[in-house]
């Protein structure tokens, strides 16, 4: 009897020990994220006071200052992503293009919508993530009339207890992240000159960095730094005009001769044309804390009709490196001098330390509208490589000695001439929608398009607050029949590892995770998860509208990993649906409508947040 009792007790103790071990293991997995075996290092992530490799938050649209859009979370991985299911949704009530990235800080998610730029804070600590607060900035309705390609917004940013947003009518607003109360509000743009703001701000060393949109309305592009505490303007750097306006001083050392000289922002234009010359900043900014440099691209020169602006049109369609404290320029590289195809230079800039030529170099990687992936030394501005990631016939390569783009003379646009079959089209081989980098695979995941165009330039007069384009464009799908492509690019081997062909142009961003899963969405609303190593489709979900947003990953207050994406068609690619444009006119929406004639039949407008997770463990 006693023997049996003792044996039972032993059994109970053994069971308890096993159970305890399991619980500890479970807790360890929940709370301790072990960083992946990183093949390459990335500059310090934006971790306000938290030293962990990934705190599970998503405080800025690009995830970190290096703009990797890589989440270290791996609960959702290649082996279980097939079980992903919607956890909750949230309707924004706005039928315009939702390009924004949701922002997650602590137990709250923040969304800023397209015009009218409403801000929603969702409480992730409660079931179904109910609304915590909302804010309506009430931008001027007339601003919708000067926004080139739908009335989008690319996201908010969190900094020191504040949520900072931009509005279409050119305003930057800081809100208290807890209450939604307005902390400050600064007007930067003037819609009567065609200036709007669509980009997500970035906060670097207590300064909010914001640029203007309006490259199609003849604005003068700039980047402005505001004090994040007060909203007061600290500095503004123009991208055209005299050196003193561009904040070019003794520290300015461009690598290539073509970018060297004084007042090139005036001299490379016909008289006064720089005042309406574009060079806007509506894309992405990255920051290297070690070099203390910010990097951002400048938009196309205006007007599109290049005959009206002979010259290199500095400092449009290029990359600036600047000191964030003073705004002073450090170097500049012009990707498309005297742009003749609307190849804005505003895409994302991914900061990586890559082994190139036998040693690790601090580089920036830029998948550019003109069709090349540039690998550039981020300290000096030297181009180390530039390889086409899509079909390109508008140019024949990049001369690494001079830095010059070798423009194809057959594809030069001119008044009185219709130039056909120019590849890539005006929106580029890849537009604003950002790529993601995985340090685990060493691949950059590029969501992009495969499109070409016909172009006819025409004389255009400048009328402030109206379009300043001077070109009729008709776009269509490129060779192969697929209008979109999702390419995994190896910037060291300088070639694609794999590529997925998509029928429709891809206008969504990408997300890479430590679970070796990569996410993106399609214009007709499919949200897809593919294997980061080979591109194999692992899971997909059809959302209510086309996807042009930026997927993010976060760890919820319950410790589980979540994937969030905005659905809501629009943007330049989806303007045919969100603006109800008429495909009878192939030149509509600057020619994009011709390439997406079928889109009205395949999706409808509507803005909704979708959040996915694995089924909870039982």
């Amino acid at each position: 009897m006693a023997e049996v009792e003792r044996r039972r007790t032993w059994w109970w103790i053994a069971a308890a020990v096993v159970l305890a071990a399991l619980i500890i293991l479970f807790l360890l997995k929940q709370t301790h994220y072990s960083p992946p075996a990183a093949k390459m290092t990335t500059p310090a992530a934006y971790n306000p006071g938290q030293p962990t490799a990934d705190d599970g938050q998503w405080v800025m649209p690009a995830k970190d200052y290096a703009s990797t859009r890589f989440s270290g979370l791996n609960e959702i991985n290649v082996s279980n992503v097939a079980n992903l299911r919607p956890e909750f949704t949230f309707e924004t009530g706005i039928n315009k293009g939702h390009e924004e990235a949701p922002i997650v800080v602590g137990g709250t998610m923040f969304i800023v919508t397209p015009y009218p730029n409403k801000v929603f804070a969702l409480d992730l600590t409660k079931p179904g993530a109910p609304l915590k607060w909302s804010f309506e900035p009430k931008p001027a309705p007339a601003s919708q009339g000067v926004a080139c390609c739908d009335v989008v917004n690319r996201g908010a940013v969190y900094w020191d207890g504040k949520i900072i947003i931009t509005t279409l009518d050119g305003v930057v607003i800081a809100l208290d992240a807890n209450s939604g109360a307005q902390a400050w509000r600064t007007q930067l743009g003037d819609i009567n000159r065609g200036e709007t703001i669509t980009m997500a701000p970035l906060v670097v060393k207590g300064k909010v960095l914001v640029g203007d949109s309006g490259g199609e309305t003849g604005v003068r592009g700039w980047l402005t730094a505001l004090d994040a505490g007060s909203g007061k303007i600290a500095w503004r750097a123009y991208n055209t005009g005299p050196d003193k306006d561009v904040l070019i001083g003794p520290d300015f050392h461009p690598f290539y001769k073509m970018d060297q000289g004084t007042d090139l922002g005036v001299k490379t234009w016909p008289p006064d044309a720089w005042k309406t010359g574009g060079g806007t900043v509506w894309g992405w900014i990255s920051y290297d804390p070690e070099l203390n440099l910010i990097y951002y691209g400048t938009g196309n020169p205006g007007p599109w009709n290049a005959d009206q602006r002979p010259g290199d049109n500095k400092w449009t369609s290029g990359i600036f490196a600047r000191d964030p404290d003073t705004g002073q320029a450090k170097w500049f590289y012009q990707l498309s001098p005297h742009d003749i195809h609307d190849y804005d230079g505003i895409n994302e800039i991914v900061l990586l330390d890559l082994p190139i030529g036998g040693k690790v170099r601090k580089v920036l990687v830029r998948p550019e509208r003109n069709g090349y992936v540039y690998v550039i030394d981020r300290a000096t501005g030297q181009v180390l490589s530039a390889d086409p990631f899509a079909y390109v016939n508008s140019s024949k390569g990049v001369d690494l000695k001079t830095g010059e783009l070798q423009v194809n003379p057959d594809k030069v646009t001119q008044v009185g001439k219709t130039v056909r079959d120019i590849c890539p089209s005006a929106n580029g081989a890849k537009d604003w929608n950002p790529s993601a980098w995985s340090p685990r695979t060493g691949l950059l995941y590029l969501p992009h398009v495969n499109m070409c165009m016909d172009w006819q330039s025409a004389e255009v007069s400048y009328i402030a607050g109206t379009p300043y384009v001077g070109a009729e464009v008709v776009m269509y799908g490129g060779a192969g029949g697929n209008r979109g492509a999702f390419t995994a690019w190896d910037p060291v081997k300088r070639r694609a590892a794999w590529e997925i062909k998509e029928d429709l142009p891809i206008w969504s961003g990408a997300l890479a995770t430590a679970g070796d899963v990569v996410f993106y969405g399609t214009l007709d609303g499919w949200f897809k998860a593919v294997d980061a190593r080979n591109g194999q489709l692992l899971w997909q979900f059809k959302t209510g509208s086309g996807i042009i947003g930026q997927p993010v990953a976060y760890k919820g207050p319950d410790g589980r990993e979540y994937i969030a994406i905005m659905s809501g068609v629009g943007g330049w690619a989806g303007a045919i649906v969100s603006g109800n444009l008429d495909p009878q006119d192939p030149t509509a929406a600057l020619g994009f409508v011709n390439a997406t004639q079928d889109l009205k039949k395949r999706t409808n407008t509507g803005g909704t947040l979708y959040v996915f997770a694995l089924p909870p463990r039982r």
Partner: protein, 189 residues
Amino acid sequence: MSSRFRPAVRALLGLVAAAALVGACDRELRDFGSSAPEAGPTIQTTSLTPGPGGQVPPDPRGEIYEKSAAHVSEGGRLFRWYNCNGCHSNGGGGMGPALIDDEWRYGSSIEQIYGTIAEGRPNGMPSFRGKATDEQIWELAAYVRSLGGFTPQASSSRNDEIRSTPPRNQVTPPKPSAEGGASVQGTAP
């Protein structure tokens, strides 16, 4: 013998044919001296009129402008001159709404289109009063009506741009619901 007369007969036949062609042309008379009064029309943006009374009668100038090929053609030139095409493309829209479809937020009558151009609209349409003359605004309105397929008889039979669509005088006219009173649809821009 007969060969001696042949050139003369040919010439005669040619003359007769030419005369017949000239006679077949009904050349539009242009009134070069006219200029419209500076005052715009009375504009009604809604078809709701409470109580007895009804619709505001159409402005007689509207018909004059929209039935004149010269005015419509000049409107087309001005459509580019004032960068209207920058937003509305060749009628398919872009930054602004389409003009060749059957949706008219602020009404499709020539008076209503005149009003939209002259006064602007709150969701992005700028006001061109004081920028364009009154006659130019009428001409623009007449051209926009032709884009909408309302006035095929006065429209050009060929396109000046790289479109591959039928000329405007062959565009299928919009559904009747879009003609007449205002059809304000939705509150979006």
